[in-house]
């Protein structure tokens, strides 16, 4: 009886090709009412822009912007499993002080990056925030190596928003019940916002001063509205479009672009995220590859506003020297910029190169990111 049910279910799913609808964050209706244009990103229906990507970008650089980042995965692991996590992460989390954050990488045995993530240490637990859509992959990886289920996916239980820009603290302080000036960079605090228990960290993906807030999903709308109200004309809602142009100006990696096709932290110039003083999966492979790096991730500033995209080729005269991993427009430089993996011998600042955009050869100069001073 049970077998027949399973057979019919599989048959129907196959025939009907039940399409998975994209997920929505608790703030979806708010975005819609604010006039957002939506796109699908990592299985989530997210706002790409509300007004103009450039306007939203400039609002963050000059004043403040608020982002819904609830699509990012959130995983909780008890700190009794610190040793297990330590072996899976390049930036050691063993003995992390409470309320500290660490940018981190999870590698495969061959040293290539599975994902990048932020790890928060809180009393009794660690909160891991990998990229959107990677909840299951990361949780399974952790459980597999633990030999038991120690990773709890809490992506639906909690929501997350980011407030970024020079006026962030001034705005958020109006509604926070703790002293935000006491939270240093890459630190966090358990703090109430209008009575709602939240975790506020001084962190972000834009290069500006700002905070990321984790709160119960049922309070997301309330906090979003309060922040917009507290900011008034000084804050704009910002979508994924501006999120991308902002991180690109800083040279921050977007996993789906910069780690695509299997990249090691050495090629991606993320050596600073590696704690060589502990054992972790991928360490041996990295030690072996250390002197054999072929390509390095560098920045290119173009002499045109034609926009380079992921996969576009980079040349030095007739010589093919690499590919663009992320390309876009910099509203601050008012030029197009790119991150690209370039052959090591050509990967030096000031090197004149050309990016092939459609049929044209667009000149540019190699730079070491960030593209703007912060």
């Amino acid at each position: 009886m049970l077998n027949l049910y399973v057979v019919i279910k599989l048959f129907l799913e196959d025939v009907l090709e039940v399409r998975k609808l994209p997920r929505r964050t608790p703030l979806y209706d708010r975005h819609a009412s604010l006039g957002a244009k939506f796109i699908e990103f990592a299985g989530w229906e997210m706002p790409v822009q509300y007004t103009s990507i450039i306007e939203e970008h400039l609002s963050v650089r000059n004043s403040a912007g608020i982002f819904d980042v609830s699509h990012m995965a959130r995983i909780i692991v008890s700190d009794e499993y610190e040793d297990v996590l330590s072996k899976l992460l390049t930036n050691d989390v063993k003995g992390m002080k409470d309320y500290k954050l660490k940018y981190n990488l999870m590698l495969r045995e061959d040293g290539t990056i599975i994902d990048d993530m932020i790890v928060y240490k809180l009393p009794g637990k660690l909160i891991i925030v990998p990229n959107a859509g990677n909840d299951e992959i990361i949780a399974s990886w952790i459980n597999k190596h633990a030999g038991e289920e120690i990773a709890e996916i809490v992506t639906e239980k909690y929501a997350m928003v980011a407030i970024q820009g020079p006026k962030s603290q001034e705005i958020l302080q109006k509604i926070s019940e703790c002293d935000l000036s006491g939270i240093k960079f890459f630190r966090c605090a358990e703090c109430k916002i209008a009575g709602v228990e939240s975790i506020i960290s001084r962190s972000g993906y834009t290069g500006e001063d700002g905070f990321e807030i984790i709160m119960p999903s049922e309070d997301a709308v309330k906090i979003w509205n309060l922040i917009l109200e507290a900011g008034g004309r000084d804050i704009k809602p910002c979508g994924l479009g501006a999120r991308d142009t902002l991180r690109l100006e800083m040279g921050f990696a977007l996993a789906g672009n910069e780690f695509a096709g299997g990249r090691t932290p050495l090629e991606a110039r993320l050596d600073f995220v590696i704690d060589w003083d502990h054992d972790f999966i991928g360490k041996e492979a990295l030690l072996e590859k250390k002197d054999k790096i072929d390509e390095l991730l560098m920045g290119i500033v173009l002499e045109s506003k034609a926009i380079p995209r992921h996969g576009f080729e980079v040349y030095k005269g007739d010589k093919y020297i690499g590919k663009v991993s992320s390309g876009g427009y910099s509203p601050i430089l008012q030029k197009s910029i790119a991150l690209a993996y370039i052959k090591k011998e050509e990967a030096h600042e000031g090197n004149d190169v050309q990016v092939k955009i459609r049929s044209k050869s667009v000149p540019g100069k190699v730079v070491k990111p960030p593209f703007i001073k912060k």
Partner: protein, 132 residues
């Protein structure tokens, strides 16, 4: 969302407009719908004066922060003028896609092709369909 469609010109399925002018000429641009969909336009590549273009072929490209799209020739002919105001300041396209933001002017080589273009009412229907 309201998109402006002018009654004094014809349209393509790929969201270009063509305004037939005296002397067998056609002025070409992007529609309000195209421009709004593109968002922040930062760069445009237009054909050079003297270029022969064929209906339906790629005549240029437009880059917005979000996407790069082709500009297709609504009619066949020779490019006799390119809007230098737009090449100097791309934002003109977003401000005024039907007037100051025109892109290039062609000398039509095959006037029968004009019948294949969409009338304003048909273009309105097209964008309504695309929106649903």
């Amino acid at each position: 969302m309201e998109y402006e469609v002018r009654n004094d010109r014809l349209y393509t399925k790929t969201h270009e407009w063509a305004k037939i002018e005296e002397g067998n000429k056609a002025r070409v641009g992007l529609t309000d719908y195209a421009v709004k969909k593109l968002g922040d336009i930062v760069y445009i590549e237009l054909p050079e004066v003297g270029t022969e273009i064929t209906k339906g072929s790629e005549a240029g490209t437009v880059d917005s922060v979000k996407a790069s799209e082709s500009i297709y020739a609504p009619l066949s002919g020779k490019v006799i003028e390119v809007n230098s105001e737009v090449t100097e300041d791309v934002t003109k396209i977003m401000e005024s896609p039907y007037d100051e933001g025109w892109l290039f002017l062609i000398e039509i080589s095959n006037s029968e092709e004009i019948n294949e273009l969409l009338k304003p009412e048909d273009y309105e229907k097209l964008i309504q369909e695309e929106e649903t």
